[in-house]
C-alpha cells in the first residue's frame, strides 16, 4: 500500500517545456525519463540549495552534492526525508535567502518523492547485520534471574544505559563494553554467586537455586570431578545459550581441579568457574557464529532461539526453546509460529510492554523524569506514577495477547486502573484497591493511548500542558512523520513579550502561526495539541482553564488561605481570585479537515493516517526485534509485513508473527565495509 499510493501531483515539467503526466510506476520503468529526472533534480538543487548545502559549506552538516551522488537516494533516506520536509513547509530555503518560485519548489518535491517514495525495493536483497552486542542491563538481570532462579537486579549501580537514535536501549551501536563496565561485570559475578549460592544456604530461595545449579553431587558412585563436569557443563550450556564444546568443558574442569588443588572446597571451586563463565564474552555478548562470503545466510537454530527470547522476553531462551533448537526444529516455520504464541502467553512477555512499548512511547520516563510535586500537587505520588506506567504497559500487552487490531492502540473501549489512578486522574468512582484491573470505558475521549495519563503527562510541561509537545508527539512518536527540527535561534518573540502577557494561552501558542518563519511547521503541530487541551498536564478532564491570581483583599477574593511562614511571626492570609476561561478544542491534522476534541483527533488519525500508524508500529517493533535502527534495505521487509497485516485486519499477533518470520530476523549478511 505504501508503494502503490499515488502521489497527488499529476503535472510536472520534464526536459524543458514539454509537459508530461507522470505516474510513479511509469517514471521508474522509463530509464530515459529517469536520467532526465536526475539531471533536472540536480540542476534545481544546485540553483536553490547548494550555495549553503554544497560540498564547500555543508551548513548543518548537509552536503547535497555528495548525497546526490550516493545512489539510490534511499540510501540516505532520513536526510532526504528531512530535505523533503523542509521544502514542503517552506523552512528551506530560509526566508532571507532567494526563494524558488512555487512551480520550482513543487518540481523539486515531485522529483525527490519519485526517487524516495517511488523507489523499487524489489532489487534489494540484504537482511542486514547486527554487530555482536552485549546484553542490556535489563536483559542481564533477567538472564541472571533465569540462570539462578532468583531475582537479584545487580545492575542497579551500573552506568546508565544511554539511548541513541534507534530509540531503544537494545541497539548494537550504543551497547558498549567499556573497561569500567567490565569491572562492574566482574564485581557483579562475584556478588551474584555470594548472594545466590551462599556457603551456608539459609532460605527456600537458596535451596531452590542449589537445585538448579548442583544438578549432580559427588558421592560414592560419582567422583568429584565427574560431578563437577556435569554441573559445569549444564551451567555453561544455559549461560552460553548453546551446546558446549568438549574443549570448553575440559578447560572448565581443569580450572576446577586447579582450584581444588589450591585448597578451595568443592563448592568454592565450582563457584570460581561459574564466576569465570559469568564474565566470559560468550555469556555477556549475544554471540552469533559468522560465515564467510557475500551471500546472506540464516542464523542457526540456537541463535534463532536467542533472537526470539531476547525479543519477546528480554531474557535467555527457556528449556523448551533449547530442546527444539537441539532437535533442529525451531527453524520450522510452523513450530516457530507456535512458539511465538506460547511465549506471548508467558508472563515474561510483559517486557514487550515494560521495555518495548515503554521505550517507544516514552512512558518509562514517567516517575523518573516526570516529577513528584508534593507542594502544589500532593496527589502526585510514586504509586500513582507506577499505576500510570502500568496502565499503558498492560493496555499494550492486552492488544498483543488478545490479538486486537493496531487501530485499537488509538481507540479502545477499555483500560486498566486501580483506585488511585481512577479517582485521582480519571474521575471514575467505584474502584477500590491497589491492584490494576481492566475496566470498560464509554467516554469516547479517554480510550486508547492518547487518553492515558502517562502519555498526557510526559507530553506536558511540569505543571502545564504543551500543545506543541503533544502535537509533535502525535506526528513523530505515534505516526512516524516528525516535523522538521526547529531552526536554531528560536526565541524570536521577545519584542512581543508585553503583548503576550495579555493573551490567553492559546493565543500565545498561536503566535507561532502568525510568525512567518514558524508557521510552516507549527500550523501542522499546534492544532493537534489544541484538540487535546481538555486533558490537563496529568490527563485529568477539564472544561475550562482555571487561573488563580493573587488579590489584595478578602472582598475581591474567591478563596483565602492562611499559612505560617518562617519570615513572619504571625500567620499570613493570602487571597486568590479564580477565573475560568472556556477551552476550545478545535484541531486538525496536516492536510485534512478539522475536528473537535480528543475523540475527533482519534477518528481523524484512524480515518486519514492509519497507514502511517501501521507503518510506525511495524518499524518500531522491527527495530526493537533486530536491536538496531532500520536501514533503507529493510524496506522490503516492512512492506511485506504491512501487506500481510492488510489481509489480517492489522492484528497485533500477525505483526509479531511476521516480524519473527521476516528476512532480517532470520538471516544476516556480512557488511560490505566495516560497520561504522
Amino acid at each position: 500500500m505504501y508503494l502503490t499510493k499515488k502521489i497527488k501531483f499529476p503535472v510536472t515539467k520534464l526536459a524543458g517545456s514539454l509537459v508530461f503526466a507522470v505516474s510513479i510506476g511509469f517514471a521508474c520503468s522509463n530509464a530515459l525519463a529517469q536520467s532526465e529526472a536526475v539531471h533536472e533534480l540536480t540542476t534545481l538543487l544546485e540553483e536553490n540549495c547548494l550555495a549553503c548545502h554544497g560540498a564547500a559549506t555543508q551548513t548543518a552538516g548537509i552536503n547535497l552534492s555528495a548525497l546526490l551522488e550516493d545512489r539510490p537516494l534511499v540510501k540516505n533516506l532520513d536526510t532526504w526525508r528531512r530535505v523533503i520536509g523542509a521544502l514542503e513547509v517552506g523552512k528551506m530555503p530560509p526566508p532571507e535567502a532567494p526563494q524558488p518560485d512555487p512551480e520550482e519548489r513543487a518540481e523539486m518535491l515531485f522529483l525527490l518523492r519519485q526517487d524516495i517514495d517511488g523507489f523499487d525495493y524489489s532489487s534489494i536483497d540484504n537482511p542486514g547485520f547486527e554487530l555482536m552486542k552485549r546484553l542490556t542491563h535489563t536483559e542481564y538481570d533477567n538472564t541472571i534471574r533465569d540462570l539462578f532462579g532468583v531475582q537479584l537486579n545487580v545492575t542497579d549501580r551500573f552506568p546508565t544505559e544511554l539511548i541513541g537514535s534507534s530509540g531503544f536501549e537494545n541497539s548494537y551501536n550504543t551497547l558498549f563494553l567499556q573497561p569500567s563496565l567490565m569491572e562492574r561485570y566482574i564485581g557483579a559475578a562475584q556478588s551474584i554467586l555470594e548472594l545466590a549460592l551462599p556457603t551456608e544456604p539459609s532460605s527456600a530461595a537458596h535451596r531452590r537455586t542449589r537445585e538448579i545449579i548442583y544438578v549432580e553431587t559427588p558421592s560414592l558412585l560419582v567422583s568429584e570431578q565427574k560431578a563437577a563436569e556435569v554441573v559445569l557443563a549444564n551451567f555453561m550450556e544455559r549461560a552460553y545459550r548453546r551446546p558446549t564444546e568438549g574443549i570448553e568443558v575440559k578447560q572448565a574442569v581443569t580450572q576446577f581441579t586447579q582450584a581444588r588443588t589450591e585448597g578451595l572446597p568443592y563448592e568454592g571451586a565450582i563457584k570460581q568457574v561459574l564466576q569465570t563463565v559469568l564474565i566470559s564474552p560468550k555469556f555477556l555478548l549475544r554471540v552469533e557464529a559468522g560465515q564467510d562470503g557475500r551471500e546472506s545466510y540464516p542464523v542457526s537454530d540456537f541463535e534463532l532461539a536467542s533472537r526470539l527470547s531476547y525479543f519477546l522476553w528480554a531474557t535467555m531462551p527457556d528449556q523448551e526453546l533449547f530442546d527444539l533448537a537441539k532437535e533442529g526444529k525451531l527453524s520450522d516455520q510452523t513450530v516457530l509460529r507456535n512458539q511465538v504464541f506460547r511465549m506471548l502467553d508467558d508472563e515474561k512477555a510483559d517486557t514487550l510492554g515494560d521495555v518495548f512499548a515503554a521505550q517507544w512511547l516514552g512512558f518509562h520516563n514517567v516517575g523518573t523524569r516526570i516529577w513528584l510535586d508534593p507542594i502544589d500537587n500532593p496527589w502526585c505520588t510514586a504509586s500513582l506514577m507506577t499505576a500510570m506506567r502500568d496502565e499503558t504497559s498492560m493496555f499494550f500487552m492486552s492488544l498483543l495477547r488478545e490479538d486486537l487490531p493496531i487501530r485499537n492502540l488509538i481507540d479502545a473501549d477499555y483500560t486498566f486502573v486501580n483506585e488511585e489512578l481512577a479517582t485521582t486522574l480519571y474521575g471514575i468512582e467505584g474502584i477500590s484497591g491497589e491492584h490494576m484491573r481492566r475496566i470498560p470505558i464509554d467516554d469516547p475521549n479517554r480510550g486508547g493511548i492518547l487518553g492515558h495519563a502517562s502519555i498526557l503527562a510526559l507530553t506536558s510541561n511540569y505543571t502545564t500542558t504543551s500543545p506543541v509537545k503533544r502535537g509533535v508527539y502525535v506526528l513523530d512518536t505515534v505516526l512516524g512523520t516528525p516535523p522538521p527540527e526547529p531552526p536554531p535561534n528560536v526565541g524570536l518573540l521577545s519584542q512581543e513579550l508585553q503583548a503576550m502577557r495579555e493573551m490567553s494561552f492559546r493565543e500565545k501558542v498561536e503566535m507561532h502561526s502568525s510568525n512567518e518563519y514558524c508557521r510552516g511547521c507549527h500550523s501542522r503541530i499546534d492544532p493537534i495539541g489544541f484538540s487535546m487541551e481538555n486533558f490537563s498536564f496529568f490527563g485529568q478532564w477539564r472544561e475550562t482553564y482555571d487561573f488563580r491570581s493573587r488579590v489584595d483583599s478578602a472582598e475581591e477574593a474567591d478563596e483565602s488561605i492562611t499559612i505560617n511562614t518562617e519570615t513572619s511571626p504571625e500567620p499570613i492570609t493570602i487571597h486568590f481570585k479564580n477565573t475560568k476561561k472556556p477551552i476550545s478544542s478545535k484541531g486538525s491534522l496536516p492536510g485534512s479537515e478539522g475536528f473537535e476534541g480528543p475523540a475527533g483527533l482519534k477518528q481523524a488519525i484512524l480515518r486519514d493516517r492509519e497507514d502511517d500508524l501501521v507503518r510506525q508500529v511495524v518499524s518500531k517493533i522491527l527495530a526493537y526485534a533486530l536491536g538496531r535502527q532500520l536501514e533503507y534495505y529493510d524496506e522490503p521487509a516492512i512492506l511485506n509485513i504491512i501487506s500481510v497485516l492488510e489481509r489480517n485486519d492489522y492484528r497485533f499477533q500477525t505483526l509479531l508473527q511476521e516480524v519473527v518470520a521476516s528476512y532480517p530476523f532470520q538471516y544476516k549478511k556480512n557488511p560490505s565495509e566495516g560497520i561504522n
Binding site: 550504543t174 558498549f176 566482574i186 523524569r369 510541561n461 503576550m500
Partner: protein, 452 residues
C-alpha cells in the same frame, strides 16, 4: 581469595598533615611528614577537563581590568569567585569550534574537534583526553577517570548529551556519577571489581577461542572485550605492585574513609565531593587524566537553591524570552524581564565559578614532592560548546585554563584574539604538555601557541 588493596601509601604520599580532605573527612593522623616519593617523579603533569554546558550570557567572560600585556588585574563580577586565583588562570577570548555545535552535536565533539553523526553514533575521532589516557595507560592505575553528575530532567539518558570522552570515534566512555563507586574503583579492589588471577586467565583463554567462530565484523566487538580485560589486567598488576609496597609499610592501613553510597542531596556538596575525588586521583597518581561534566549537555537542572534564581538552567539560557511560555520553560516559572532572567542565568555561571574556585584552592594547597603545588603540576581546561546560550552559537566559547602545567604555562593572563581561534588547537597544546605530540585534532592542524 586474595584481593589486592591499593596502596594507602600512594594516596597519602605528599599529603601534608595540615591538609584534610574536607568532604571526605580523611585525616591522615600518622602522616606527619610528607612521605618519601618513589614513583612520583618531579615534572608529572595532570590534565583535567571541566565540561560546562548551556553557554553563558554574552559578555560575562571578560576581565574587568588588565594591564597592557594582558595581565589580569581584576576579574568582572560574574567571575569574581576566581579573583583569588587570577594569577593561576588564563582567559582566552574568541574561542570557537568550526564543527560540531550546540547541545547535541557540540557536547560529544567538545574534545574531538569534529562534527557528530548521531545516526552512526560517531564523534569523528578519539577525544583528546582518551588520546592522552592511551599514551599514559602503563603509568597509572586507571588510564583516565570520567565523572559526571546525575542528570535531572529531560535528556538525562540521551547519549550525545552525556558523552564527551571517546575511546574510539564510535565508542564513548562510560561515566561515573556515584562518589562511592569512584572511590572504590581507585582504592578498593574488592567492590571495585578486579578479581583473582585464575579467573581472569581462564576467561581470556576461553574468550580467545571465540575469535575463530564469529565473523570478521564481530571481531571488532571482541577486540573491545579484550581491550577492557587488558585494561583490568593492567590494574591488577598495578595493584599487586602496590600491595607489595604496602606490606612493607604496615602502618598505612584503613585511614581512608570512603564516601557513603548514593548521591548527595545537596548539589554543592555533590559537585565538591566529585572534585575531591578528582584531586585524590591526581594526588595518589591513580590517574593523570580526568574529565568531569559539570552537567549533561542540555542540563535542565533547577538552580533555585541559589538565592534569587528560579527556573531550569537550560530555560534560563534562552533568556531573551522571559514569558515562561516557550517550550524550553517549565510552564510555571516566568520572569519579570529579559534583564532579570539574564541575571539569573549569569548567577548560575557565577555559582559554577565558586565551585571551580574551590577546586583550584584545594589543588593549590596540596604540596607535591617537588615542592610545587598540585595546581602547578596540573592543567585544568574549563569550557563548553555553546557561546551565548540564547544565540546557541559556537563563537566566543566560554573557555578558561588553570594551572601551571609543570611550569609550561604562563598564567595570570587575558589573551585577546582578533581572529576566531579553534578550541582544538588548545587541546593540541595541552596534549603536547602531557607528552603527546600530534599534528592535528579534528578541525585544527596547528597547536595553539599562546600558553607560554
Amino acid at each position: 581469595m586474595k584481593s589486592g588493596i591499593y596502596s594507602r601509601r600512594a594516596i597519602l604520599r605528599g599529603i601534608g598533615a595540615s591538609i584534610a580532605l574536607p568532604l571526605l573527612d580523611v585525616v591522615p593522623t600518622f602522616a606527619q611528614a610528607p612521605l618519601t616519593a618513589s614513583s612520583i617523579s618531579t615534572g608529572i603533569n595532570r590534565l583535567a577537563y571541566l565540561y560546562f554546558p548551556n553557554g553563558i550570557p554574552r559578555g560575562i567572560w571578560y576581565p574587568e581590568e588588565t594591564d597592557q600585556n594582558g595581565r589580569l588585574i581584576k576579574l568582572n563580577k560574574w567571575m569574581s569567585p576566581l579573583e583569588p586565583h587570577k594569577s593561576n588562570i588564563i582567559i582566552p577570548s574568541n574561542i570557537w569550534t568550526p564543527e560540531g555545535n550546540g547541545h547535541v552535536n557540540g557536547t560529544p565533539t567538545w574534545l574531538t574537534g569534529y562534527d557528530y553523526d548521531s545516526r552512526a553514533v560517531n564523534a569523528g575521532g578519539v577525544s583528546a583526553d582518551q588520546i592522552v589516557a592511551r599514551h599514559l595507560r602503563e603509568e597509572t592505575l586507571l588510564p583516565s577517570l570520567e565523572l559526571s553528575l546525575k542528570g535531572e530532567g529531560y535528556f538525562s539518558n540521551s547519549l550525545p548529551r552525556n558523552a564527551i570522552s571517546w575511546s574510539t570515534p564510535d565508542r564513548p566512555m562510560a561515566r561515573e556519577i556515584e562518589p562511592r563507586t569512584i572511590f572504590d574503583r581507585m582504592f578498593n579492589t574488592q567492590t571495585g571489581g578486579t578479581s583473582n588471577r585464575s579467573v581472569m586467565d581462564a576467561v581470556l583463554a576461553d574468550a580467545r577461542s571465540l575469535g575463530n567462530v564469529v565473523s570478521s565484523a564481530d571481531k571488532l566487538r571482541l577486540d573491545e572485550y579484550f581491550e577492557s580485560i587488558r585494561a583490568l589486567e593492567r590494574r591488577i598488576e598495578f595493584a599487586e605492585r602496590q600491595s607489595e609496597e604496602m606490606r612493607e609499610d604496615g602502618a598505612l592501613t584503613d585511614t581512608l574513609v570512603a564516601p557513603t553510597p548514593g548521591i548527595p542531596a545537596d548539589h554543592e556538596s555533590y559537585i565538591r565531593l566529585m572534585m575531591d575525588l578528582m584531586i585524590m586521583a591526581f594526588q595518589s597518581d591513580a590517574t593523570r587524566v580526568c574529565t568531569f561534566m559539570l552537567d549533561h549537555g542540555q542540563s535542565n537542572r533547577y538552580f533555585n537553591f541559589i538565592p534569587e534564581v528560579k527556573g531550569t538552567w537550560h530555560a534560563l539560557s534562552h533568556y531573551q524570552n522571559a514569558s515562561g511560555m516557550t517550550e524550553d520553560d517549565d510552564g510555571t516559572t516566568s520572569w519579570e524581564s529579559v534583564e532579570q532572567k539574564r541575571t539569573m542565568y549569569a548567577e548560575v555561571v557565577r555559582w559554577h565559578h565558586h565551585q571551580v574556585a574551590y577546586l583550584l584552592e584545594r589543588m593549590k594547597s596540596i604540596r607535591e614532592p617537588n615542592g610545587n603545588s598540585l595546581l602547578d603540576n596540573s592543567m585544568v581546561l574549563m569550557g563548553g560548546a555553546i557561546g551565548d546560550g540564547n544565540e546557541h552559537d559556537a563563537s566566543n566559547l566560554p573557555t578558561l585554563i588553570a594551572g601551571g602545567g609543570g611550569g609550561t604555562i604562563r598564567t595570570g593572563r587575558y589573551i585577546e584574539h582578533k581572529e576566531p581561534t579553534d578550541l582544538a588547537g588548545i587541546h593540541l597544546a595541552l596534549m603536547q604538555r602531557m607528552g603527546v605530540s600530534l599534528d592535528r585534532l579534528g578541525s585544527a592542524d596547528t597547536s595553539y601557541q599562546g600558553l607560554t
